[in-house]
C-alpha cells in the first residue's frame, strides 16, 4: 500500500506525542489521587470485631500516609452522665481497639433503670483532629 510519507509520518508523530501526553496526563491523575488521600485521618466504630475476642463494638482508625504513623487517642466512657473512665492509647493505621469494658462502670452504679453509655473518642495531632461519639442504651 503506497502512502503519502509526509502525512503518515506526521500522524505517527502525533499519535506518539499524544500517547506520551496522555500518559503524562494520566500519571498526573494518579499523583492528584495520591495527594487527595494524603494525610487523611478517619476514626470509626466497627460492628464486627471478632479478632479482638468478642462481637462488641470497637474502634477503628484509618490513617493515610501519616508521619509519624501513630496518633494519640483519648477514649472517655461516661455513664449516667457522671461516672467515667478515661484512657489514652496509641493507634496505628487500620488498627482495631477494643473499647473499655463497661463492667467497671456498671459495678459503680446501683441504679436499676436503663443507662446511656457515652463513648467519646478524640484524636489529635499537630495537624488534624477527629472525634467520634457513640451513645449506647443498656437495658438493666
Amino acid at each position: 500500500m503506497k502512502i503519502k510519507s509526509t502525512e503518515s509520518t506526521t500522524i505517527s508523530l502525533i499519535l506518539l506525542i499524544a500517547g506520551a501526553l496522555f500518559a503524562t496526563f494520566y500519571q498526573q491523575g494518579i499523583n492528584s489521587e495520591k495527594k487527595a488521600y494524603q494525610e487523611q485521618l478517619a476514626l470509626a466504630f466497627e460492628n464486627s470485631c471478632q479478632e479482638l475476642g468478642d462481637n462488641d463494638d470497637c474502634l477503628v482508625a484509618y490513617l493515610e500516609n501519616f508521619s509519624p504513623n501513630t496518633v494519640k487517642t483519648k477514649i472517655e466512657t461516661k455513664v449516667a452522665g457522671k461516672f467515667s473512665i478515661e484512657k489514652e492509647i496509641e493507634i496505628k493505621p487500620f488498627s482495631k481497639i477494643k473499647l473499655p469494658p463497661e463492667n467497671e462502670l456498671l459495678d459503680k452504679i446501683s441504679q436499676t433503670n436503663d443507662l446511656v453509655f457515652h463513648y467519646k473518642i478524640a484524636v489529635t495531632n499537630d495537624k488534624l483532629e477527629a472525634s467520634i461519639d457513640k451513645k449506647v442504651i443498656r437495658k438493666r
Binding site: 509526509t6 506526521t10 500518559a23 491523575g29 492528584s32 470509626a44 446511656v116 472525634s131 449506647v136
Partner: protein, 658 residues
C-alpha cells in the same frame, strides 16, 4: 504498567476495530495514518463496539473481559489477513494535506489544543463532578453485573454514553474512580475538533477553486473551535464537568454531517449515505439532546433545500432542483431499506433507549414555561458563544448568503455586468463550475447555524422544552466554521486589494489575536488555582466505610449541599441509582409545577422534630453523612444519634437502636 494498559485499551477498542472496518470497506485505499483515517477509525470503532455489546447483551452473554476481547481479536486477525491480501489496484482516496499543512496541524492545533486542555485539566483529573458520579454508577453497573442497565426507566441516561467507558474499564481493570474517565473524555473532545477540520474542508472544497484555500479555511476553523475557545463550554469545561453525552455528541454530529456531505458531493455514493445513516443511528443511541439538535439542523436543511430549489426554478435555474431529486432518488434503494429494518429491529427488539417513551418525549417537547427554557437573548447568545467568535461568525453568515445569491445569479450578473461585488467574489477564487453542489454544502452550514440559533433564542417556535443553556453550546461549532469563512474572506480581500502579504498577515494576526484574548479569557486566576480534592477523598473514605457497616435495608442519607464528590457514594454501595438518598439544594424543594418530597431535607434540618422522626420511620434511614459543622448541631445534641465516623471534614451519624 497501568498507563500502558490504558493506552493499549484505547488502541484496541477505539481505533483497531474501526481501522479494520475501513480497510475492508475502502480496500486499503484510505490510509489509517491520515487525518481522515484516524478520525473515521475512532467513529467506526465506537459504532462497532456499541453494536457488539448491545448484541451480546441481547443474546444473554455476560459483558466481561473475555466477551469484549473478541472485538480486537477479530479486528486484529482481519487486519493481518488483509495485510497479506492482494492490494487493490484502484486509485487511492485523495489525501488532503500537504507536508506544509500537516505541520500547521501539528503546530497550531495539536500542540496548542492538547497542551491548553492538559494545562486546564491537570488538577481536575480526580473525579468529583456531580454528573460524572451519576454516569459512573451506570458504567460500574455494566462492569459489576455484566449486563446493560435499563436505568430504572430514567430518560436522562442513554446506553451509548456508557458502553465505551465500561468496555475500557473492564478490559484495563483500571478503577473508575481515577483519571480514566477524564482521559477518555479528553480524547473524544480532541477528536471532535479534528472532525470539525474535516467537515469545514468538505463544506468549502467544492466552493473554493484553490484546494489550498479550503484547507487553510479548515485549519482556521479548527484553530477557533479547538484552540482559541478550548477552555469554555463545550470544550474543557465539559470534560472537567464529566458531561459525557454532549462530548460524544459533539464528536458524532460533525462526523455524521461529513458523510452526509460526501453523499451530496459525490456521484452515486450510496455507501456514504449508509454511513451517514449509521452514525445518525449511533447518535440516537448515544445522546438524546445531540440527536434532537442534529435532527433539527438536518430537518431545517432539507426543508430549506426544497424552498431554495423551488426559488431557483422561478429564476430559471432548474439544475438545483434536478440535483436535489437525483439525491433523493439515490438515497432510496434496498440498502437504505435494510438499514431501516435493522435500525427498527435494534430499537424495538434489541435495546430501546429509555428516552423513547411518551412521558419523556412530552417533557422535552412542548411550550417552554420555566425561565431557564424560554431562550437566550441575542446579547446572552453573544456572551455564551464568545463575543469575538459570534460577531465574526455573524458576518460570515451574511457573506455566505451573498455567496449563494452569487452562485444562483452568477451567469445573469456576468452578462449584465452590474454588480462588481460578485465579480470581486469570483476573483477571490470561488468555484463557478460547481455552483449547485457548493450551494447545498453552504446551505447545510447555514441551516445548521440558523436552526440552533432559533432553538437557543426562541425555542417556542420549535416546541423545544429543554434548558436553553444546553442547546446554546451546540452553536459553537457552526459559528467556528462561519467565523473561519469571514477570516478567509478578510485574508483574500486584503491580499487582493493590497497585494502585500505582510500587511495581510498583520491584519489577520491582529484579528486572530483579538480572538485569542476573547477565547482564552476564561484562563484566569480561578482556573489556575489548584483545586483541593481533600474533602472528596474524605467522602470516598466515608462511603467505603458505609458500604462495609450498613446493610441494604439500612438506608443512608447524604448532604449534597456541602459535600464534594458525594454522587460517587453510590459507586461504593452499588445498591441502586437512588441510594444513598440525598439532600438537594433547598430551592429544588420548592417546585411550583409539582409537589416534591421533603423528607431528605427535613431529616437533616430537624431530625428531632415530629416531621423528622416520621421521615426516618418512613424512609428507613439509619445513617447520615454530613460535612462537619454544616447541620450537625442537632445530631450532636441528640441522644438518638451517635457519631460513629469522623474525618477532618466529614461525619457520619447513626440512628441509635431503641
Amino acid at each position: 504498567m497501568e498507563i500502558l494498559l490504558l493506552l493499549l485499551s484505547f488502541f484496541l477498542f477505539l481505533f483497531l476495530p474501526g481501522w479494520a472496518f475501513l480497510a475492508l470497506i475502502f480496500k486499503n485505499k484510505l490510509n489509517f495514518l491520515s487525518l481522515r483515517g484516524i478520525v473515521f477509525s475512532l467513529g467506526f470503532s465506537l459504532l462497532i463496539v456499541d453494536s457488539f455489546v448491545l448484541l451480546i447483551n441481547f443474546i444473554g452473554l455476560k459483558i466481561n473481559f473475555f466477551s469484549i476481547s473478541i472485538i480486537p481479536l477479530v479486528a486484529g486477525i482481519f487486519l493481518i489477513f488483509n495485510y497479506y491480501r492482494k492490494k487493490s489496484a484502484s486509485t487511492k482516496i485523495k489525501e488532503s494535506y500537504s507536508e506544509k499543512q500537516i505541520y500547521w496541524i501539528v503546530l497550531l492545533l495539536f500542540v496548542f489544543s492538547l497542551t491548553i486542555r492538559f494545562f486546564y485539566l491537570s488538577d481536575k483529573t480526580f473525579p468529583t463532578a456531580t454528573d460524572l458520579g451519576h454516569h459512573l454508577y451506570w458504567i460500574k453497573h455494566i462492569q459489576t453485573f455484566g449486563n446493560l442497565p435499563h436505568y430504572d426507566g430514567m430518560p436522562d441516561f442513554i446506553i451509548g454514553e456508557h458502553i465505551i467507558f465500561a468496555v475500557i474499564a473492564i478490559f484495563s481493570k483500571i478503577n473508575l474512580l481515577s483519571a480514566l474517565p477524564i482521559c477518555l473524555l479528553t480524547l473524544f473532545n480532541f477528536f471532535s475538533f479534528l472532525t470539525i477540520i474535516i467537515l469545514a474542508e468538505e463544506i468549502f472544497s467544492s466552493l473554493l477553486k484553490n484546494p489550498l484555500a479550503s484547507r487553510l479555511l479548515a485549519l482556521i476553523s479548527g484553530l477557533i473551535a479547538g484552540v482559541l475557545y478550548s477552555i469554555s463550554t463545550p470544550q474543557s469545561k465539559f470534560i472537567s464537568g464529566g458531561v459525557i453525552g454532549n462530548t460524544l455528541g459533539n464528536f458524532l454530529i460533525p462526523l455524521t454531517f461529513i458523510f452526509f456531505l460526501r453523499f451530496i458531493k459525490n456521484k452515486n455514493e450510496q455507501r456514504d449515505f449508509i454511513f451517514f445513516l449509521l452514525f445518525a443511528a449511533l447518535l440516537s443511541y448515544t445522546h438524546h439532546l445531540s440527536a434532537l439538535v442534529f435532527a433539527l439542523s438536518l430537518g431545517g436543511f432539507i426543508l430549506g433545500s426544497f424552498i431554495f430549489a423551488g426559488l431557483t426554478v422561478l429564476v430559471g435555474r432548474k439544475d438545483f432542483s434536478a440535483e436535489l431529486f437525483s439525491k433523493i432518488k439515490a438515497s432510496l434503494n434496498w440498502k437504505t431499506l435494510i438499514f431501516f429494518v435493522s435500525y427498527l429491529l435494534f430499537l424495538f427488539v434489541i435495546y430501546t433507549p429509555t428516552y423513547l417513551n411518551k412521558s419523556a418525549i412530552d417533557i422535552a417537547i412542548g411550550d417552554p414555561i420555566k425561565e431557564t427554557r424560554t431562550g437566550y437573548s441575542l446579547a446572552e447568545i453573544n456572551d455564551n458563544i464568545g463575543n469575538w467568535r459570534f460577531s465574526i461568525a455573524s458576518i460570515g453568515f451574511f457573506l455566505l448568503i451573498t455567496v449563494i445569491a452569487y452562485l444562483v445569479f452568477e451567469k445573469k450578473l456576468k452578462e449584465k455586468k452590474v454588480l462588481k461585488l460578485f465579480q470581486f467574489l469570483d476573483q477571490l477564487g470561488l468555484k463557478t463550475n460547481d455552483s449547485v453542489i457548493s450551494s447545498f454544502s453552504i446551505l447545510l452550514l447555514i441551516f445548521w447555524f440558523l436552526m440552533l440559533f432559533i432553538a437557543s433564542n426562541s425555542p417556542e417556535l420549535f416546541k423545544v422544552d429543554i434548558p436553553s443553556r444546553r442547546i446554546i453550546t451546540y452553536l459553537t461549532f457552526s459559528t467556528s466554521i462561519l467565523a473561519s469563512f469571514t477570516i478567509f474572506i478578510f485574508f483574500s480581500s486584503f491580499q487582493f486589494l493590497f497585494k502585500n502579504t505582510k500587511i495581510t498577515a498583520l491584519v489577520i494576526l491582529a484579528l486572530l489575536g483579538t480572538g485569542f484574548f476573547d477565547g482564552l479569557n476564561e484562563i484566569d486566576n480561578k482556573t489556575i488555582t489548584k483545586t483541593s480534592h481533600s474533602l472528596a477523598a474524605q467522602v470516598y473514605i466515608a462511603s467505603a466505610y458505609l458500604a462495609k457497616v450498613s446493610t441494604p435495608e439500612e438506608k443512608i442519607l447524604k448532604d449534597h449541599i456541602y459535600l464534594s464528590g458525594d454522587t460517587f457514594s453510590k459507586l461504593f454501595l452499588m445498591r441502586g441509582y437512588n441510594e444513598p438518598l440525598s439532600r438537594s439544594y433547598l430551592q429544588r424543594y420548592n417546585d411550583p409545577t409539582k409537589p416534591r418530597e421533603t423528607c431528605t431535607r427535613d431529616m437533616i434540618a430537624q431530625p428531632e422534630s415530629e416531621i423528622g422522626k416520621a421521615c426516618f420511620e418512613k424512609t428507613g434511614v439509619k445513617y447520615i453523612l454530613l460535612k462537619k459543622d454544616r447541620g450537625t448541631a442537632s445530631f450532636e445534641k441528640s441522644d438518638s444519634f451517635s457519631k460513629i465516623f469522623s474525618t477532618q471534614e466529614t461525619v457520619i451519624y447513626k440512628l441509635n437502636e431503641n
